[in-house]
């Protein structure tokens, strides 16, 4: 019996195994907060075998691509994405950290040009475990809490 804690959707994307409390950040990063976007069903603090507690976001009528969803890998590395068609899961994948992070993270270096000019911040992923990013502009590396604090 699949855990159907919140409503079933006929078509769309189920974003599962989000760390508890992070659902709002997830929909912000994915740009799902727009008023004219599709219906979102959210379950927060759901008991989970893998995570203890987790959040789930269901996006009705939209199929998110792997590339899109990978943007949340920094805050929700365990996330599973399920594509639902005709009430059934037809595809399932895990998010993975992309080679380059664009747009969602601010550079913590106050003297970095990306904090002063009209540019999209960009980071190269230097290592995944532990996570280490290098700013495309100022070339500083950032790790751990510095990454989470600037999302």
């Amino acid at each position: 019996m699949p855990e159907l804690k919140i409503e079933v959707i006929p078509e769309g994307t189920v974003i599962d195994h989000i760390p508890a409390g992070k659902w709002l950040k997830v929909i912000e990063i994915l740009g799902l907060t727009k008023p004219n976007g599709g219906t979102l069903l959210i379950a927060s603090n759901v008991p989970s075998k893998k995570l203890g507690r987790k959040d789930i976001v269901k996006v009705e009528g939209r199929y998110l691509s792997e590339e899109e969803v990978n943007k949340i890998a920094l805050i929700a590395p365990m996330t599973t994405v399920n594509i639902v068609r005709d009430y059934k899961i037809v595809e399932k994948f895990k998010v993975s950290i992309p080679d380059e992070i664009t747009g969602i993270l601010r550079c913590p270096n106050p003297n970095c040009v990306s904090n002063h000019e009209y540019v999209v911040p960009r980071f190269k992923v230097e290592s995944r475990e532990p996570l280490k990013l290098r700013c495309h502009y100022c070339e500083r590396t950032i790790e751990g809490d510095e990454i989470l604090g600037n999302l």
């Binding site: 003297n111 540019v119 502009y137 100022c138």
Partner: protein, 308 residues
């Protein structure tokens, strides 16, 4: 590698082959220049030097290089005299200036400014220093100086002395030297040691690294001693600073224990970290290093302009 139109932003963008190629072209140009007095590869080309932060010698070195290639130069030497003061964005300044020129050299107080300029500009951009980040032409001219003095870089034992923690010059140089088969002595006060991640990177690349606070002990081992300034601001108190300053001054007494062939380098300007009594000795290579800036920058200007 197609050099025409290429940007020179960070030594990280360079492979060993790129570095070797630039050094070879610089040597060729230096020899041609010696023979002919002046060259005309860049005739009709205009270099724009955008110095948002003053740096007399780097700017003059680039301007001299462009003139010696037969080109001409426009530009400004401080942001105070430009529309930046009126709040113009860097991107707009670059888009404007590139209408007047064929290649841009930029020095800017913010890290990443040269990278951004290169993204905005269609014409090549050369980084002459972006805040505390990169100054790739300095690194290339340092390598060129070493290569000209010894005929090679491989096999040398090189000491980097001074502020190894904050000094971008020594960081880039160390990273570039990691392409070669060198042994490095990192000589600094405890407080100003080379960042751990750079030391690890050097070791991973096979460089034999010695970290020490003892200049006297290291000096007999060295083929090159690269000296950088230690700034007063880095120390919590005056006493500590003076102690360190005293023990790291390069003078004739210290050099008595050095190899006869040891060369002393310094990115200049120096204050008192090298005593002027060293200037007349065979060890002093720092003015030759200044000279190297011109052929190396000629090579980079000529290559990126696609006129060589």
């Amino acid at each position: 590698m197609d050099w025409k139109g290429r940007d020179v932003i960070s030594i990280r963008d360079f492979s060993k082959e790129d570095i070797e190629f630039v050094l070879k072209v610089a040597e060729r140009l230096e020899n041609e220049l010696k023979g002919k007095g002046s060259l005309d590869y860049a005739r009709g080309k205009i270099l724009a030097t955008l110095f948002f932060e003053p740096s007399t010698r780097t700017r003059l070195s680039f301007e001299s290089a462009m003139h010696r290639l037969g080109g001409s130069v426009i530009g400004f030497s401080s942001a105070a005299s430009t529309s930046v003061k009126k709040g113009e964005s860097l991107a707009d300044t670059i888009k404007t200036v590139e209408q007047y020129s064929d290649v841009i050299v930029i020095r800017h107080p913010m890290e990443g400014a040269a990278r951004l300029a290169a993204e905005v500009a269609e014409i090549p951009v050369i980084n002459a220093g972006d805040g505390s980040n990169q100054h790739p032409t300095q690194t290339l001219l340092d390598l060129y100086t070493i290569k000209r003095a010894f005929g090679r870089i491989d096999g040398l034992t090189i000491g980097l002395l001074g502020d190894l923690k904050y000094g971008r010059t020594v960081h880039s140089l160390a990273e570039a030297l990691a392409f070669y088969d060198v042994e490095l002595y990192l000589i600094s006060p405890e407080l100003l040691r080379m960042p751990k991640h750079i030391v690890e990177e050097l070791r991973e690349k096979g460089v034999k690294v010695h970290e020490t606070t003892d200049l006297e002990g290291a000096i007999p081992e060295l083929d090159v001693l690269y000296v950088t300034r230690i700034q007063r601001e880095r120390f919590p108190d005056e006493e500590e600073y003076l102690k360190v300053k005293g023990s790291y001054q390069v003078n004739c007494r210290l050099l008595k224990n050095a190899k006869e062939t040891l060369k002393v380098m310094h990115p200049l300007p120096r204050v008192d970290e090298i005593h002027p009594e060293v200037d007349g000795s065979e060890h002093a290579l720092y003015f030759r290093q200044v000279f190297s800036g011109v052929p190396v920058r000629m090579a980079l200007l000529g290559l990126t302009l696609g006129v060589l």
